[in-house]
Symmetry: C2
Subunit: 229 residues, 2 copies
DNA sequence: ATATAGTGTGTAATTTTTACACTAAGTAAT
DNA sequence: ATTACTTAGTGTAAAAATTACACACTATAT
């Protein structure tokens, strides 16, 4: 039930927690603000929703402007609207998270005026964040923790071909705990959504691991059943 | 990252899916619109967010205005903002669901100008809804389906003292499937968050069932472990 | 040849889940 | 008081899923 009240004074924005994985660490993309309030603080990238954009499009645009990437997995997860979350007035913000494979060309590009620079920061060592962005980040991490147990989102953080050890590593980083290697493999393989390739890992100075690929077709077929970790 | 752009033309509202349970059926509260667009259509109750309200407060206010109830369990779950979801312009709406025990004094009260009346409608027999409210409702049901498996929200729909059969009934309605009586009882009791009372059900023309109460203190103690259904 | 570092594999014990049917207790009608 | 009716309340065995746990293999580097 909505009425049109054209003189409403609330401002509506989108903020994004961009999770990136480089094979080693889980990171998020932060920008250093160039304007008051919170000038020189680190903050989540965000922006105002354009008049003709859907919310998802708007989030995708923010991501594109920062990284040059398209087609990235993004998900809306919560709205933050405390009347005093922003020192200069009511700003309602909608939070999205994204999952990105780093390494290669995924570096943040030079960006708009309100930020000096953007940086991928390991989640184990984040700076103080502007506004209520710590809260927004916390809730985002919580969401992907929950989601990775039921949906095949871990693959979004990995290259197309990956080893089981890499996959386990992603799970461990997001869940924040060690997993048993044998049990992990047994289970993940039993879902039947991984395709074992003939290829092996390259460039390592030890026995090379077998590469796998996530099989979207098989997953779609089995979709009724959710994955459960 | 938000800037203050005071001349933004998006309108921000909240829509609520109020789930009610009367001991028999699961219902939602719908209002019949008295204004264009969608005059005479049924719609979810909603309103504009007040300038000084938090989002949760705003949702609670909408609920209070319709039902006279306070202290009801409500949860924000998704924002809908398609540029053309509203025929007269961009309206971003934030969806909440609420869980309410019906029977007694929970009747909707006479309501504001934009609605003729409000009605509790069984979810098995809903009318066509205005705007994209069917989509909003669908996603809300999906959310509580998921949540009831891990959080003790079923109790919000039941009176303080309830029988195990009633509790099972709530689970069955929300999950949309029959459950095995013995297995259900075994499991729900094993969580250790129900307190068996000395009282029995009254006013039934057959063997009266034992009454139980949800033990919030015990639940809080065990909280690390989530319930899992 | 040897050291090194990560890969890849199986099993037994435990726990959890599932499927399934009858007796007990209370009320209402005669 | 007998009977009919309706729901409450209970146990077990089989199957499936989860957990805990250790060593031999393979590729590379020196």
């Amino acid at each position: 039930m909505e009425e049109i009240l054209p003189h409403l004074d609330s401002v509506f924005s989108i903020d994004c927690v961009l999770f990136g994985f480089d094979g080693k660490e889980l990171k998020i993309l932060l920008i250093e603000r160039n304007e008051e309030p919170f000038k020189d603080w680190w903050a989540l990238p965000g922006n105002i929703v354009g008049a003709d954009e859907s919310l998802d499009q708007s989030a995708a645009r923010i991501l594109y402007e920062l990284t040059g990437l398209r087609g990235i997995y993004m998900e809306q997860y919560y709205a933050f609207g405390d009347p005093n979350r922003h020192p200069q007035g009511r700003v309602i913000t909608l939070a999205y998270y994204a999952l990105i494979r780093l390494g290669g060309d995924k570096e943040p590009r030079p960006i708009s005026t309100y930020a000096k620079r953007a940086n991928w920061m390991p989640i184990t060592d984040l700076p103080k964040l502007a506004f209520d962005h710590q809260k927004i980040y916390d809730k985002g991490l919580e969401k992907i923790k929950r989601r990775i147990k039921h949906q095949p989102i871990a693959f979004e953080l990995l290259p197309e071909k990956f080893t089981l050890t890499q996959l386990q590593h992603v799970y461990e980083l997001i869940l924040g705990k060690k997993l048993d290697k044998r049990n992990f493999r047994k289970k993940i393989v039993s879902f039947g959504v991984l395709k074992e390739l003939d290829e092996k890992q390259k460039g390592v100075s030890y026995r090379a691991a077998t590469l796998y690929r996530f099989d979207k077709r098989k997953y779609a077929k089995l979709f009724g059943k959710e994955i459960s970790f």
